[in-house]
């Protein structure tokens, strides 16, 4: 009944025997013990369980663990750098872009993809639209929008410094 799956999560190999029906989100939480991926709706609407699958944001509640066999995953636990928080995390902290923090992992990973894809991101309406697949019940989003815009700027500066 079970199948062996192995994948790389945050750079580390993870292996387990799972039933085919096991949701990827449950695999990450209960088998890999990465509880930062939160389940807010289990039908793909709230976005709290968003992770990066081979660099792209997906709902881990709408995938089976067996489907991620062989994939590279990034969860919120894999975001921080060796020397501290990722600039995106820093920006969230400085802009008070989280209150209860339950939706935060999903916002971070959605935003990370967003600012990688669009390094010149700055327009408020564009950011709001891009974040509209993640629900937050605490903040009213204003500070999240500000944090994402600020983080995009920080990463632009970072890459310029690297190039220079």
């Amino acid at each position: 009944m079970t199948r062996r799956v192995s994948m790389t999560v945050n750079g580390r190999p993870v292996e387990a025997d799972v039933e085919p029906r096991r949701l990827l989100a449950d695999f990450l939480r209960e088998d890999a013990h990465l509880y930062g991926t939160h389940l807010g709706c289990e039908h793909g609407v709230c976005g709290a369980c968003t992770i990066l699958l081979d660099g792209e944001p997906v709902r881990s509640c709408l995938m089976l663990a067996v489907q991620a066999d062989g994939a590279e995953l990034t969860t919120v636990e894999g975001l921080a750098r060796a020397d501290g928080l990722h600039p995106l995390q820093e920006a969230f902290r400085e802009h008070h872009a989280l209150q209860c923090g339950f939706c935060t992992p999903g916002f971070l990973l959605t935003s990370l993809y967003l600012i990688r894809e669009q390094p010149d991101l700055d327009d408020e309406d564009e950011i709001r639209e891009a974040l509209s697949g993640n629900l937050c019940r605490c903040t009213g989003y204003q500070n999240i929008v500000d944090a994402v815009r600020d983080a995009a700027g920080r990463l632009r500066q970072e890459s310029q410094t690297t190039k220079g």
């Binding site: 389940l39 709230c46 993640n134 605490c138 903040t139 989003y141 929008v145």
Partner: protein
């Protein structure tokens, strides 16, 4: 400002209820009623019980015979509406828990649930207040011989209302329909129970805003002494009032743990959350306002019906009562009368959601003031200004409460000025000339915060106190531990309390650890974490405890420094003689003296460095503010979009502006959700017409405006420190302002909007009706 918990939450290390596990833990799911009203015949769970990995199936018949009903702590003189951890013989709403299934995983528990066969005998049911009050209405409590579906009627009056209406130049009357909504925190609820059979002690982790109250109510229901139960609250993914309640699942999971001898965890799934977590808000209100020709409002009377659902939950009909007694809002209206009927229906019980009954009161009053302005041909802001209680006449008694302090007209004036500074009345005109439908809506609110004087609560029937108790201790190493019975649910409470503690003891915030959410450690708090009382009541208690400790710190330090304690100052953990930092000791020096080297204590000073202090507010506090919404309506599609949003308010002393702003932004978002998106509709029989986020729409980043916010500061005269509380404020005035703006945008059509949510479909049908009328 850096919040203490952010680094943890940003790196995925926060532990919420669904992240907890215990050795040998099993998982629970609930079987719930698919019918709004039914007798339960037999329940056949044999197949489910026999499935591999299934540990137990409990039904109402398996409950201990002496198990208590789930309690209501807000007793305002109402009929009892008993309901239990699991339904016994009868269900009264779709979603009522009927059985709990315990298995090795939630997957297996769901498999087993599908094998349970219930012999249902459906009964006639009611899905609305209108239907419940009809002459031939089916009775929700026919088995308890109720004569009708009214659980309680509350009436209150001040002045001479009839005379004021007789003498009025203008009378306006409107009927309002306010829909069902609910708190809908992103984290659902959950419970983890572990029963130690050896000592008959229960440990219950629960996603709750009420640590000790949950413990006490559970003890009462189970018939256990309170100290045999330890309630722990992990990180909460939002609460907003819905987690202020004590739920059947908390009792049922505890019993399941006892029955199976294993730790049992239940995490509410999103679909069941729409039925299992208390709903809120739903009311029908008829409101009449009497005024003189010059615009002076002389009287208001309201007839309110609350759709309470199938039972009065933990807070009874409290929110409906609060709507009723706030029916004069912030206006100097001498005559007022309300009647509120708490009506039962076959729907999920109604309970708390940020704002309690206040958004409803604000909506009906503010919308009616708009109506009066139209009737009198007056500017809406001007008419409000004329009737606001002027600062020199505060404090002033309204129908039930005493509004405390502030300058309402100054606040309204500033909001209106800000509107013009942002170019608005002019830009509205220009856009209208281009054929666009742009509207401006104004509302003014006050909020009942700092709940509350225990005596007043108890006199009113609330079986809870209103005080808070704080315990703080300077440890031998000079660090500070602060214990509070209030819960952190994302609102930043622990940061605010830390700041108050740091300022009043004289240590750096980083030296303080706050302990919350453990009934065996934290002091009792009267009312739990709600009613915008954390910063005000909790803050005042922390301030008192901190000052008591500080006095002792200064006495000890004075002895060590051979200085008069009155000449000492404490800052960032250093105590020094004012003016000369050269002569100083550290908090660690003092801590060491207090616990380890008593030889360094002054003569007669007791060892230890700890204080426990209670604060019971002498009065409520009343923050207030103005909302101004600017919207555009696409009259061909009915789509509403925001062009601007202004928020000017006064919540007394602000401990932390960033947190206050965050609270308001989030609360306004919920108010906008109420105005435009969120609704829990039922059919006439009480069948829910919703079941997931496909039907229940939360606003996204793309729908919401950026707030232009300004603060004013009138310290509360009743709270040490002057804080007034702010948690609920943003939900109260926003629905009225948004709906008023839509109505203003549609002024060419002359529509009147008395019902929420205002959907695109509703907008087009209102326009069509007016066009038919005009033709």
């Amino acid at each position: 400002m850096r919040r203490r918990e952010d680094a943890e939450l940003l790196t995925g290390k926060g532990r919420f209820i669904g992240d907890l596990s215990r050795p040998g833990m099993a998982h629970a799911v609930f079987l719930r009623s698919p019918f709004p009203h039914a007798r339960i015949g037999s329940i056949d769970a044999d197949r489910a019980r026999a499935m591999p990995g299934v540990h137990a199936v409990l039904t109402g018949a398996d409950l201990p015979p002496d198990l208590g009903a789930q309690p209501n702590t807000h007793l305002f003189g109402e009929r009892e509406t008993p309901y239990y951890a699991l339904a016994r013989e009868r269900v009264r709403y779709a979603g009522e828990p009927v059985a709990v299934i315990v298995a090795d995983s939630a997957y297996l528990a769901e498999d087993a649930r599908a094998q349970i066969v219930v012999d249902w005998d459906p009964l006639p049911s009611v899905g609305s207040v209108e239907r419940a009050l009809a002459d031939d209405a089916p009775l929700v409590y026919d088995d308890l011989d109720w004569p009708d579906n009214v659980a309680a009627t509350f009436e209150q009056e001040m002045g001479d209302v009839d005379r004021a209406f007789d003498e009025a130049d203008v009378v306006v009357t409107e009927r309002y329909r306010i829909q069902r909504q609910f708190a809908c925190s992103l984290e659902t609820r959950g419970v983890l129970a572990e029963w130690d059979a050896n000592v008959d002690e229960l440990t219950l982790w629960t996603s709750s805003q009420i640590v000790h109250i949950a413990r006490d109510l559970l003890a009462a229901v189970l018939g256990l002494p309170e100290h045999r139960i330890r309630v722990l609250v992990p990180r909460l993914g939002g609460g907003f009032g819905a987690k202020f309640h004590f739920y059947p699942e908390e009792t049922a999971v505890a019993l399941a743990a006892r029955a199976t001898g294993r730790p049992v965890r239940w995490v509410e799934d999103r679909m069941e959350s729409f039925l299992a977590t208390v709903h809120a808000r739903e009311q029908r209100v008829e409101l009449s306002m009497a005024a003189r020709e010059d615009g002076t409002i002389t009287a208001v009377k309201g007839d309110l019906m609350g759709d309470m659902g199938a039972a009065l939950h933990t807070v009874g009909y409290g929110p409906l009562w609060l709507t009723a007694v706030m029916i004069t809002n912030v206006y100097e209206i001498p005559n007022a009368r309300v009647r509120a009927r708490a009506v039962v229906t076959n729907k999920t019980p109604l309970g708390s959601f940020r704002g309690w009954g206040q958004p409803q009161a604000n909506f009906v009053v503010e919308r009616t003031v708009d109506r009066l302005a139209r009737e009198l041909g007056r500017d809406r802001a001007e008419l409000r200004r004329q009737n606001l209680i002027p600062p020199e006449r505060l404090p002033r008694k309204s129908l039930h409460h005493t509004l405390d302090s502030g300058d309402y007209p100054a606040c309204l004036d500033r909001a209106v000025a800000l509107l013009s500074e942002r170019g608005w009345p002019d830009r509205q005109g220009e856009l209208r000339d281009q054929g666009r439908h742009v509207g401006i809506g104004i509302s003014f609110y006050t909020e009942n915060s700092a709940l509350g004087p225990s005596r007043m609560l108890n006199e009113g029937g609330v079986q809870q106190g209103g005080y808070d108790i704080a315990r703080m201790r300077v440890e031998p190493g000079g660090e500070v531990t602060l214990y509070t019975g209030l819960c952190e649910m994302g609102q930043g409470l622990t940061n605010a309390l830390t700041q108050v503690c740091a300022d009043n003891v004289g240590v750096h915030p980083d030296q303080i650890t706050v302990v919350t959410g453990d009934s065996s450690q934290v002091p009792y708090t009267g009312y739990g974490t709600g009613a915008s009382r954390g910063a005000a009541v909790g803050g005042a208690a922390v301030m008192k405890a901190s000052r008591t400790v500080r006095e002792k710190v200064l006495r000890i330090a004075g002895h060590m420094l051979e200085a008069n304690p009155d000449d000492l100052e404490a800052e960032d953990g250093t105590i020094f003689v004012r003016g000369t930092r050269a002569r100083s000791v550290t908090m660690a020096d003092v801590g060491r003296a207090a616990y380890i080297r008593a030889i360094e204590l002054p003569e007669g000073e007791d060892p230890g460095l700890e204080a426990i202090e209670a604060f019971d507010p002498p009065q409520f506090a009343w923050p207030y503010g103005a909302n101004i919404a600017v919207v555009e309506v696409d009259v061909e599609t009915g789509v509403v979009s925001f062009l601007d949003y202004i928020y000017v308010h006064d919540c007394g002393t602000i401990v932390n502006p960033t947190i206050v702003e965050g609270q308001i932004q989030g609360a306004v978002a919920q108010g906008i959700g109420a105005a435009l998106f969120e609704s829990l509709p039922y059919d006439d029989e009480g069948q829910p017409l919703f079941g997931s986020f496909m039907e229940y729409l939360l606003p996204t980043a793309a729908e919401l405006p950026r707030l232009a916010m300004e603060h004013q500061h009138t310290p509360s005269p009743n709270i040490p420190g002057g804080m007034k509380g702010v948690g609920e404020a943003g939900t109260i005035g926003s629905p009225a302002a948004v709906v008023a703006a839509i109505e203003d945008a549609l002024s060419p059509y002359g529509v009147r909007i008395n019902e929420t949510p205002v959907t695109p479909s509703a907008i087009l049908s209102m326009i069509a009706e007016r066009e038919v009328t005009a033709a």
